[in-house]
């Protein structure tokens, strides 16, 4: 037998273990679920994680009212139903909801614009938590502000609950386009980039050096088909979140599996075509210009 360490020097909640879980989810699909039964369908279809929330974005949009953290009993039911990681959404700035979710042992907290914001100026101080956080972003400045607050995963916001991919594409292109420009900037220009982005200079300098965000970047908001997943993965997303796109479609289970397949084989059109066959109707889509509320505008 080898000698062992005592384990007494072990540390929980380090940046490496927080970002590390996000790394393990790369190339996968994280699915919104509101009940344990939906969570089971998601796991059966090959989801890498599920996201517990009170109502899917399409229903929040339709019914209105204040959207909040899911009932702890529901979160626990979902944790019991599946073996894959369970994430849950808290309102922007609502650190008490995040504390509750941490105490339930959820694996990631999503400080999400899909729920009704609780604070109009401040996001949660995510460094104060052992549980890691994912946050949405529409542009690079927003992404870097969230990272400076302690987010360990960024997802482009898109426009949740619309089944329309156009906003997700806009946000991905904006974030990744600016990263590409920063890698071409000289030292003096980086100061101006930090000012323009309203983001910490240190993070801008890090991007100039590495050419990527310091945390994994996933895509959310409007993914409804296998082709949508392939599109955003080819644009540079590292994994996808699917909200209403699965459980608001005609036949959720095969669609969920098909989006998983397309996310893995995103570079192979033959495989994406195979996954796309005969799935029935996708969720009904919405035109962005006709929306009363744009969820992506929440967050500061």
């Amino acid at each position: 037998m080898a000698e062992s360490t005592s384990g007494s020097d072990s540390q929980v909640g380090t940046v490496r273990v927080k970002r590390g879980l996000a790394d393990m989810l790369r190339g996968g699909v994280i699915m919104d679920v509101v009940t344990p039964a939906e969570a089971k369908i998601a796991e059966d279809a090959g989801a890498v994680a599920v996201m517990a929330l009170e109502r899917v974005p399409a229903d929040i949009r339709r019914d209105g009212g204040v959207a909040r953290m899911s009932d702890p009993a529901m979160v626990e039911g979902i944790q019991e139903a599946v073996t894959i990681p369970v994430m849950a959404k808290a309102r922007i700035g609502h650190f008490a909801e995040a504390q509750i979710l941490e105490s339930l042992g959820v694996d990631y907290v999503d400080e999400s614009e899909v729920l009704t914001p609780a604070d109009e100026a401040h996001h949660i101080d995510k460094w104060a938590f052992t549980v890691p956080f994912v946050c949405g972003a529409t542009n690079l400045g927003e992404a870097l502000r969230r990272i400076s607050e302690g987010a360990c995963m960024i997802r482009s916001k898109g426009e949740a609950g619309t089944g329309n991919i156009v906003e997700a594409v806009r946000h991905l292109r904006s974030i990744l386009g600016d990263i590409r420009k920063i890698t071409q900037a000289d030292q003096a220009e980086l100061f101006d980039w930090a000012k323009q982005l309203q983001a910490p200079l240190g993070l801008v300098q890090e991007i100039a050096e590495t050419g990527c965000l310091p945390v994994p970047m996933f895509c959310a908001g409007g993914i409804a088909t296998p082709a949508d997943a392939s599109l955003v993965m080819q644009l540079g997303a590292e994994a996808v979140f699917v909200g209403s796109g699965i459980f608001k479609s005609e036949d959720p289970a095969p669609r969920a599996k098909a989006i998983v397949e397309a996310t893995t084989h995103f570079q192979d059109p033959t495989m994406v075509a195979k996954a796309s066959r005969g799935l029935g109707d996708a969720m009904p889509g919405l035109e962005i210009g006709e929306l009363e509320t744009k969820l992506a505008e929440r967050g500061w």
Partner: protein, 195 residues
Amino acid sequence: MAPIVGVLALQGASREHTAALEKLGATVHQVRLPQDLVGLDAIVIPGGESTTISMLLESSETFEPLAELLNQGLPALGTCAGMILLAKEVLDGRPDQKSFAQIGIAVRRNAFGRQIASFETDLKIQNLDQPFPGVFIRAPGADILEPSVEVLASLKLDSGEETPVFCRQKNVLVTSFHPELTDDLRLHQFFLEHL
């Protein structure tokens, strides 16, 4: 000739393994489909979600041909989810979860708990002078089933029990932790040296 190492890239942290192996001079092939398995000297199964990877192995029709290569003695390194996929027995898994059964251990998924219990600790590894940075993320634990399985590192739990976290049987290496998330290349080096 540089060895050709396949990194299973269906889902999970294949990029970090690729970077580590390339730094050590190996040629890396990403494996997603059966045709990607041609000409490999070794295979790495990375961390990720083992249930997802297991399903994707089936749907891509890669499971059977890879299993055949492993049965013929293809050297393998499995980290975290990779350890689960190489184990003879999977406890607490899904009933339909498949494994390659290449190393005589039984693994328990998430043996150390949920993400809030994920941790880093320095590990004493057999034949390495300096401690190795152990990064454990929703990590699996192992029970040894066969005496020929060598334990290269283990960890003492709060209960006082010791659990193996790095094992070898012939040319199959498995770790509960993630060497690919650190800058320390010694474990990948050890793998390449023993091909």
